[in-house]
Symmetry: C2
């Protein structure tokens, strides 16, 4: 099977318009006079992005949230979404539409259109396109991190991982950790507040380590992450401890959808945690406090 | 399984923004100051929209063409597309990307972004979002046909049907008829020329009869179609004759992607054929010349 990186390489030869940002960013940015439109499309597949027994309302939530999170990382205000929906069993589809309405209502986003297809395969696939309006220009990209910038993240990391494990182990009532996995919160307000200040910004969809390494590579700088600084929630710590191993996992697991950004040290408009520094050179260096430690075999989720 | 109409009904309760046009149109229209952005999303699934042995380059062509055709019906100039791609076998993916480049180059459209997912099912699904800029405002919709307007279509109908049958019968070299099916031509220039003149416009994706009936219903008028006026190509006639049955099939088969519009009789800027009239009352009436004939059991392709 073609790997994602091989296919994106093929696509890069086609995506020559500057709006495509060389497919190096999570969104396309189209400038219109004095406004910029931000566009993103995510696809999710049964058995890859959700289990067959997942609550369809959660599937809808996550499909929308992951796209809104991409808009958040551009400081964009969402205008609406288009849905590509594969029809299936009645009850599943009704629950899905309920979850869809919930998240769209929550964030004041409108369904603008889309398409339905019948399902002749055994697994469903869904697509969502989100359209937003930039609230600040230039629109933040991945490639602007500068040597000496700090690495910041919003919120806490690892809660989605802990939630996934609890669900996987068969716990139904797992409260906010399961919620972190099933119903991630797109950081829209934070993204808009941060857009004027950051040098680079993206959301953490595949894991902090892999995503910050991508940001450093796109920006042609190096980066050092201090594991001891990774923000963990009290619930995460009570469930998975505060060990180096536990922090390492929180830093290399996706699905948290927190924002990751590069900025100078300054008073920042929203609560964030500094977890490292962009440096001269290239690549990712990991420390635990002052002490350098080896990189784990996997930095995060790699799409196949 | 949920039917398309039942699901769209569920979605209509969510799609309350005026930009969604009540999900009655093929596109969403977002107004920005003095400009309008037109957005459409189509999904295609293996086994539903293409056969497993189809040329992947044709699949890519049709995926893009069907979306550009929706933009054409709004008189929009395409700005770019976002692709949702399910990864698969290397050679298929390479051929697909070649076909994608061909059609994007042909119409000067850029790939702006998108997403890839692995395929854990047995059939692939693909999604495409096309973004265009309206060249005329108000942007034509389905619901503006007026009593006394003529029904016009661009090009000829039925060629895609004849092409499909030839391919189905195992003919490889079937020239322009197979092309009509595999590589439909989005009527972008025609749509832009017609947008200032029409009262309503849409593309014929499911069949003239079913689509004109939808236009009449949305416009709260009746419509009469004269089968004897259906424009047929010489190749279509040589292959399938010029009988009433043959015309009826040409009028109730989709995939031609010609434009269908309502306008007063006037000098029109592009070659078109008048095939009927919007009338007082409701519903579709069919004639063959002067003589009224019964409606066929199916007016066109119904999505399930």
């Amino acid at each position: 099977m073609t790997t994602e990186s091989a296919f994106v390489e093929l696509m890069r030869n086609i995506a020559i318009d500057p709006s495509a940002r060389g497919l190096l960013d999570d969104t396309a940015v189209i400038d219109f006079g004095d406004q910029s439109l931000v566009l993103t499309h995510d696809m999710m597949a049964e058995g890859v992005h959700w289990r067959s027994n997942a609550d369809p309302a959660d599937v809808a939530w996550k499909l929308v949230a992951s796209n809104l999170s991409d808009l958040a990382a551009k400081g964009a205000r969402p205008l609406g979404v288009l849905l590509g929906f594969m029809l299936g069993e009645d009850e599943w589809d009704r629950k899905f539409s309920k979850g869809l309405k919930e998240i769209l209502d929550r964030y004041g986003v409108s369904l603008l259109g889309g398409d339905t297809v019948s399902n002749r395969g055994d697994k469903r696939a869904l697509g969502l396109t989100a359209i937003g309006m930039a609230t600040h220009r230039p629109v933040p990209s991945r490639d602007g991190a500068q040597i000496g910038d700090s690495v910041y993240v919003t919120g806490t990391l690892g809660d989605a991982l802990a939630g996934f494990e609890l669900i996987d182990a068969g716990f139904d009532e797992v409260g906010s950790l399961a919620s972190a996995y099933n119903r991630p919160v797109p950081r829209l307000a934070e993204g808009q507040a941060l857009a004027p200040i950051v040098h680079a910004m993206m959301d953490i969809s595949d894991g902090l380590l892999i995503d910050v390494e991508r940001m450093a590579r796109a920006s042609r700088v190096g980066v050092t992450i201090d594991l001891s600084a990774i923000p963990l929630s009290p619930l995460y710590v009570s469930y998975r401890t505060n060990s180096q191993e536990s922090r390492l996992q929180a830093a290399s697991w996706g699905d948290d959808y927190e924002l990751l950004f590069a900025a100078r040290d300054a008073t920042l408009p929203v609560p964030v945690t500094c977890v490292g520094k962009f440096t001269d050179g290239a690549g990712l260096t990991l420390t635990d406090g002052e002490k350098q430690i080896p990189l784990p075999p996997s930095l995060g989720y790699q799409h196949h």
